[in-house]
């Protein structure tokens, strides 16, 4: 199989924007000339119910259409999912997991019980979202954390791409909300912590 494909899984709760995050990230990656997939896992769609969404990124056209079972990167948009959803399921040996939590990466590592080869990052995305956007919406901050933890895309490019998409999405709702989201992404980028 083409090893060059990077697979990402987003865990969230219905209404937290896990799908939107995957779409925004996918589009930002596409603009750098990569081939992408971004898709949600559809189940009963209820606010608050555990949901997941996915990305595939590759320099070559992506042909595979099966679900993602062994992701390279996992993002957890809500810390209360841990213990209820198997967020580390199938995570590759040298994979990365990024969790929205106030806890430190080493505390989170213990909670998750993952192998030493897996890198753990944490960020208080709720706190950041409340400070900037005024609502505890963790999806856009987590985009900043993803870039900080993996360097998978150029950060300035991501900001520019997300800004353009949000300007369309929030058309008529003022530039303010777009700026606040961008601020949230920047803050999360700065505050995302890995282990020493």
């Amino acid at each position: 199989m083409e090893k060059e494909i990077i697979e990402i899984r987003w865990h969230g709760r219905g209404g937290q924007g896990a799908k939107t995050a995957a779409l925004l990230f996918g589009e930002a990656a596409l603009e750098t000339g990569m081939y992408i997939q971004a898709f949600p896992e559809y189940g009963p769609e209820r606010t608050g119910a555990p949901v997941s969404s996915y990305n595939r990124l590759s320099k070559k056209p992506i042909r595979i259409h099966s679900g993602i079972e062994t992701p390279d990167i996992v993002l957890v948009l809500d810390p209360t999912l841990i213990g209820k959803v198997d967020v580390t399921a199938g995570l590759k040996e040298n994979g990365v997991i990024i969790v929205n939590t106030k806890k430190s990466p080493s505390e989170m590592r213990k909670m998750l019980g993952v192998k030493d080869t897996i890198k753990v990052y944490t960020v208080d995305a709720y706190g950041i979202a409340l400070d900037t956007i005024g609502k505890a919406i963790p999806n856009t901050p987590m985009l900043g954390s993803l870039i900080k933890a993996t360097g998978i895309l150029n950060f300035d490019h991501l900001l520019e791409s997300v800004r353009k998409k949000l300007e369309v999405k929030f058309r008529g709702k003022g530039a303010d909300i777009v700026d606040k989201n961008i601020q949230a992404i920047k803050k999360a980028y700065e505050e995302t912590k890995g282990e020493e």
Partner: protein, 389 residues
């Protein structure tokens, strides 16, 4: 040409916008809802000149499409699953009246039990309705095929449906190379209508009672149109390939040249299967794949030609025949191969019903089974892959 990120639903809606049909009559249904929703916003925003008819059912949607097409309009709609099933009797009428209507169809399992995810039972249910059926492997092909289908339908005077796998494609965003609006318009050309109900200088009667003395001739004529359709489909695909660089045929062969073992598959699973073929080739297995893109008209000759030197064939059906001899694609592929000198052994593999995920490992298992069958192991003619036994 511009590169964008779109789901199959979004891409098909964009293709509809670029075609700019005179009439769209539609009733939204999961997972094709977005196609109708996005297109209706195009209508609202004045991006198309389309008369959008919001009907109360899919039966009415197709009936309105027929009326509009008979009156000389360029007509499109979109549906899925139960919606397509509700259109069923009207689909036959569209085809027999030879009206070039195009459906953007999203494959979803037919109830019961109720399910919203992908399988091909909905389009298999209407496979003999007289509609051209094109199964897309990815969203790019869904987009390209909708544009081609409009031209094919108007040259063959047969209705056509382009299908994309529900959720797997309909809701998955991928890179799409979109054509410019003018390129699409130039490609599809002037609308062609077989006749026009509103031409008062040349009044005609449409849909009269047709009994023992004429009905058979009209059905024979419809069959003839379908028999001639492959030529039209190939011509339109060639023209598309020359103009825009993406090549399509009735079938797609993948690493079949020296293959001893082949699987036949339709829709998005073909992509996953191509990766699996590469994986198995690396391990030294002489395996290949045949993707049927156009299931109606059935490309028997192309299939025979592609598989004539293969030892064993596994046909993967995303719909069950329930009490038939195997899956619907299997039965027709096996019948086509009856004409071959070497008569490859053919097995049926039903998979992925109701959106059950199909992974490379599932496809590898199909290959393993047909390879074992070749070595003398007795396996069932009909197999179910990925179901809990």
């Amino acid at each position: 040409m511009k590169v964008v990120a779109k789901t199959a639903n979004e891409a098909m809606a964009e293709a509809m916008r670029q075609i700019n049909p005179d009439v769209v009559a539609a009733y939204p249904i999961t997972p094709a809802t977005e196609i109708v929703q996005i297109f209706s916003s195009f209508v609202h925003d004045g991006l198309v000149d389309t008369e959008f008819i919001a009907v109360e059912s899919e039966h009415s949607a197709m009936s309105a499409c027929i009326g509009a097409a008979a009156a000389g309009a360029r007509v499109m709609t979109s549906t899925s699953s139960q919606g397509l099933a509700l259109m069923d009797e009207v689909l036959y009428i569209a085809a027999a009246l030879r009206l070039p209507i195009v459906i953007c169809e999203i494959n979803r399992a037919l109830s019961a039990p109720i399910n919203i995810h992908c399988d091909h039972s909905d389009t298999m249910n209407v496979r003999d309705s007289g509609w051209i059926q094109i199964y897309a492997e990815d969203s790019q092909e869904a987009y390209d095929s909708v544009i081609q289908a409009m031209k094919i339908a108007e040259e063959a005077f047969l209705p056509a449906m382009v299908t994309a796998d529900g959720f797997i494609l309909s809701h998955a965003m991928q890179r799409i190379d979109m054509l410019e609006d003018e390129e699409v318009q130039a490609f599809i050309g002037e609308h062609k209508s077989p006749y026009n109900l509103l031409d008062i200088d040349n009044p005609i009667t449409i849909g009269p009672l047709d009994l023992q003395d004429y009905f058979f001739e009209h059905k024979r004529q419809e069959a003839d149109a379908m028999m001639k359709a492959p030529k039209v489909i190939k011509k339109v695909a060639d023209e598309f390939g020359q103009k825009f660089g993406r090549k399509y045929g009735l079938v797609e062969e993948y690493r079949l040249d020296d293959a001893d073992y082949a699987i036949v598959v339709m829709g998005s699973t073909a992509g996953t299967a191509k990766d699996t073929v590469d994986l198995m080739r690396e391990k030294g297995h002489k395996v290949g794949l045949l993707r049927i893109r156009v299931f109606r008209p059935f490309p028997a000759e192309e299939i025979l030609n592609a598989l004539k030197n293969v030892k064993v064939v596994g046909v993967m059906d995303r719909a069950d025949g329930v009490n038939a001899f195997g899956g619907p694609v299997f039965m027709e592929v096996r019948a086509a191969l009856y004409e071959s000198e070497k008569k490859p052994d053919v097995y049926s593999f039903v998979y992925g019903l109701g959106g059950r995920d199909v992974k490379p490992v599932d496809i590898e298992r199909v290959f393993q089974m047909i390879m074992e069958a070749d070595k003398g192991k007795k396996i069932d003619r009909l197999n179910y892959i990925g179901v809990r036994e």
